[in-house]
C-alpha cells in the first residue's frame, strides 16, 4: 500500500484550511445537501465531504458512515488532494496503491472510490467530495462531469464562507 503523499506545500495548505474555520464545526445543511445529492445521484452507499487535516481526514458531511474522521495516511482522499483532476479507482483490489489498504482488505471492504479535490481559488486542495462503494464500478465521462459540478458547488460555498470571514475580520479591525 502506498501511504497518502504529503504535498510539498502542505503547511501552507493547512494554514489555508485552518483559516476557513471549518474543521470540527457542526453539520450544515448546505454541505449535507450536496453530499446527499451525490450519494443518491450515483447510487453509492457512502459519500463524504472530507477535509484533510495534518494527520486525519475529517468529515464535514457524510452519508453511509458514522465515523467523524479517519487517518490521513491510509485515506484515498489523501491521494486525491494531490491531483488536479478527479481520482477514480474503479477496483481498489486491482490498484497497487490501495490493494492492501485496511479499508479494502478489512471491513467495510471498499472497492470503488471517486474523489474530486476541493481546490480553492488559492490553488490549495482543502479536501474532497468523494464517493465509495463496496462493489467495483465504472465511472463514465458524464459521471465525472456531474461529480465535478457538485464539487464546484461545494467549493463555491467554501469561498463564500472565506469571504464572509474576511469581511467579519475587516469589521472587527
Amino acid at each position: 500500500m502506498q501511504l497518502a503523499p504529503i504535498p510539498a506545500n502542505d503547511s501552507e495548505r493547512l494554514a489555508a484550511l485552518y483559516a476557513l474555520l471549518i474543521l470540527n464545526t457542526p453539520p450544515e445543511e448546505r454541505f449535507d445537501r450536496i453530499t446527499e445529492f451525490a450519494a443518491t445521484e450515483f447510487e453509492v452507499p457512502v459519500a463524504l465531504l472530507s477535509f484533510m487535516d495534518k494527520d486525519r481526514q475529517w468529515f464535514k458531511a457524510k452519508v453511509g458512515t458514522d465515523l467523524c474522521d479517519a487517518p490521513r495516511s491510509i485515506s484515498f482522499c489523501g491521494h486525491a488532494i494531490v491531483q488536479s483532476d478527479i481520482l477514480v479507482v474503479p477496483d481498489a483490489t486491482l490498484d497497487p496503491r490501495f490493494a492492501d489498504n485496511p479499508v479494502v482488505i478489512n471491513a467495510p471492504f471498499m472497492r470503488f472510490y471517486a474523489g474530486a479535490p476541493l481546490i480553492m481559488p488559492s490553488g490549495f486542495a482543502m479536501g474532497t467530495l468523494c464517493l465509495l462503494d463496496i462493489k467495483p464500478r465504472e465511472f463514465d465521462a458524464l459521471s465525472l462531469s456531474i461529480l465535478s459540478t457538485l464539487r464546484d458547488l461545494a467549493v463555491r460555498e467554501l469561498v463564500e464562507q472565506g469571504s464572509s470571514l474576511r469581511e467579519d475580520e475587516g469589521r472587527n479591525g
Binding site: 450536496i34 445521484e41 459521471s143 462531469s145 459540478t149 464546484d152
Partner: protein
C-alpha cells in the same frame, strides 16, 4: 406533433424544477460539457415569464401533486407552451418529471404530445440525457 418537431438550431432549453441543487447541477454540467444553454426556472410562473421573452428548443418540466388531488394537477405551463402563437414554438419537445404516472396521466400526456416522462427519483444524469436528445433534434 412530436415527430414533426421542427429543426431549429442554437436555441436554449428550459428546465422548470424547484430543487435548486438539481437545477444548478444539470445546467452547469450541460454547460461544462458544451451541450448548450439551459435556462433555469424555479417555478411555472418564472418559466412563463421566460417563455414570453425568448424562444426555447425544448423543455423539461417538473410537475408535483403536492397536497393537491390528481385532477388539480397544474398543466397550465404545458398548455401555455402548446398554445404559443408560432407553430414552431408550440411544437417544442417537452419532458415531464412526475412523482408517478397512471393511465389517466398517460392520456393527459398523449393529448399534450409529451416526448418523455421522467419518474422519481430524479437524477441529473437522466435530465442531461433528455436535454442531450432534445439538443440533438435541433442539430439533426
Amino acid at each position: 406533433m412530436d415527430n414533426a418537431t421542427p429543426l431549429r438550431k442554437g436555441l436554449p432549453m428550459l428546465l422548470v424544477e424547484p430543487d435548486d441543487l438539481l437545477r444548478r447541477t444539470v445546467a452547469l454540467t450541460a454547460r461544462s460539457l458544451g451541450m448548450g444553454d439551459i435556462c433555469e426556472a424555479a417555478s411555472p410562473d418564472i418559466a412563463s415569464r421566460l417563455l414570453r421573452d425568448r424562444k426555447f428548443g425544448g423543455a423539461v418540466i417538473a410537475l408535483d401533486f403536492g397536497k393537491r388531488q390528481y385532477d388539480q394537477y397544474d398543466l397550465g405551463l404545458i398548455d401555455e407552451i402548446r398554445r404559443q402563437r408560432s407553430a414552431d414554438d408550440a411544437a417544442i419537445p417537452i419532458a415531464l418529471m412526475l412523482s408517478y404516472c397512471d393511465a389517466g396521466m398517460m392520456e393527459v400526456v398523449r393529448e399534450r404530445y409529451i416526448a418523455r416522462i421522467i419518474l422519481k427519483p430524479f437524477r441529473a444524469r437522466v435530465l442531461l440525457d433528455t436535454f442531450a436528445e432534445f439538443f440533438s433534434r435541433q442539430s439533426a
